[in-house]
Point group: C2
Chain length 316, copies 2
């Protein structure tokens, strides 16, 4: 009998696109999306979980196709008003988006866990797949630049990724416990594939892999691990992945990302634009269209990725 | 040398109209507006101070002339979104208005007092007059109806004042300390007038008067106390004042309000519509146009009220 569960590790925009594709071709019970929470932060007294939010909006069909983050049909009256009251206005919070942050913050303060809040909101928005935070414990990505250590959202949003990154750390990660559903899935013996979504390796995927126990559980799951390259033609589709790779002394290429993941990967999906880099990649490579513009692109890449995983499984 | 300070006791909509009138005819340093905080509540995890907000928006020229509460040029995307996430949506919070609640909540949690937050926000919005909460301590108005005691906003907004009111209480008031500025002003020997704004006596003015020390300090200030009737022609301009008076066994009239305030009042301003009730009023009555529709109405009523106070002072 074939194995059932697909575990997808995801950050925000790019990862959410593939997660949506997977959610459309798999039965709801078969997909577990593990969201990075290293980007989470407290802002204006609100608990904000950017990657969970982007996944939630994408899976609910509420995402903003123009920005990749936030909600569609958004208005900005709150942002127009907060500055005059002395509030910080460098992080853009739309009026509709704000409802999620306010309601989550209220529930967290009342004692619910982040995963409970996430599960309930996904259910209310009609999302079938499970989305779980990598951990209910606090993990915070920080970046070391010329001026010292800075909080991730300070680097990412306020300074728009301008600082040169010398190092990254995930505060709290050594004490963080992986979400129970992740470990239960990986230990179930029923994992069809572990998919590493096309998210930034350093700030989206590695925080998940750094949670004690997760990397070992992936290796022990018996499932093929297939990543989709976030680099197309030497460029990141969105965000600072390529810039960050160069700053960290790595080759800014699809092959460079595969090298970074190392023996975690069994399979790797790259774009046609990167086909001449195949020789340098240790994992088994599949060449596909990885730029997800349409909904069909998302579904097709999900099929290709699962197909690659299934092919790897059949060779074992 | 004539006395300088005008201390105005105010609730929301009606009180804020007269406070604006006073602020336009007095030097900024001469006006102290004391805001009721018995209506304050925590909602969606946010600290909301309806009367302070209405005063702030009115004095800053940001008020919504259609509703009397909230901000002008408001949008409602947050409200459109919160219900689907499981958040309560019976209390209408506009997107611009929300900026004030979020920023205040953030500051209160960081350790600022309500009066510090209020003062800073008033300054940022260019309000010259001082607006102070009656107390930085927590006071909560509750209402007893047929079904027992309920929170004020539950009665006022969720149930739209439908329950019959048998009694009111101000939880916490016996331990609440009056704001220092109120006591300093009342004890300064420099009070020109204490104005009781045309707000609901039971739920806007009496919580202020119930703070230990305030009623005595008003009496001891040596200043004339002049109220403006919130009842015009036997009707409340806005809100449940008349309904509440009948339910509490009082006469729903301008004279009934004066009787409720009793010997607190030296002077009382009533509308032309209520002129035939003069004989029943103990305080010295001035008849004026008390329906404040235009900005000129607000200024004129402020002048009439101060004039009445000055006339009372000259007779002492």
């Amino acid at each position: 009998m074939s194995k059932r569960l697909v575990v997808a590790l995801s950050g925000g925009v790019g990862g959410a696109k593939l997660a949506l594709g997977l959610s459309r071709i798999l039965p709801a019970d078969d997909l577990l999306v593990v969201a990075n929470t290293g980007d989470d932060f407290e802002h204006l007294g609100l608990n904000i979980s950017p990657d969970i939010d982007t996944l939630t909006y994408a899976l609910a069909g509420l995402d903003n196709p123009a920005t990749g983050w936030g909600r569609r049909d958004e208005t900005w009256s709150f942002m127009d008003s907060i500055g005059a009251l002395g509030g910080e206005d460098w992080f853009r919070l739309g009026d509709r988006d704000l409802a999620l942050h306010v309601e989550r913050t209220r529930r967290l303060r009342s004692g619910q866990t982040l995963s409970e809040v996430t599960a309930d909101i996904c259910r209310r928005l009609g999302i079938g797949a499970r989305v779980v935070p990598m951990s209910d414990d606090r993990v915070r990505t920080r970046v070391r630049s010329e001026t010292g250590w800075i909080d991730f959202q300070d680097y990412f949003v306020r300074q728009q990724c301008r600082p040169v990154v010398h190092a990254l750390t995930f505060d709290g990660v050594t004490l963080a416990r992986p979400h129970d559903d992740i470990m239960a899935a990986l230990r179930s013996g029923d994992v069809r594939a572990v998919i590493v979504c096309p998210s930034n390796p350093f700030i989206s995927v590695e925080p998940i892999l750094a949670i004690p126990g997760i990397r070992e559980a992936i290796a022990g799951s018996g499932a093929p691990v297939v990543a989709v390259s976030p680099i197309i033609g030497g460029q990141a589709v969105k965000g600072p992945t390529a810039k960050m790779m160069r700053e960290l002394g790595l080759e800014a290429s699809a092959a460079g990302v595969a090298a970074r993941y190392g023996d975690l990967l069994d399979g790797y999906i790259i774009d046609h634009a990167d086909a001449d880099g195949v020789a340098a990649i240790g994992a088994r490579v599949t060449i596909a269209n990885t730029l997800m513009t349409s909904l069909e692109d998302r579904e097709m890449l999900a099929r290709v990725t699962l197909g690659a995983a299934d092919a790897l499984a059949s060779r074992r």
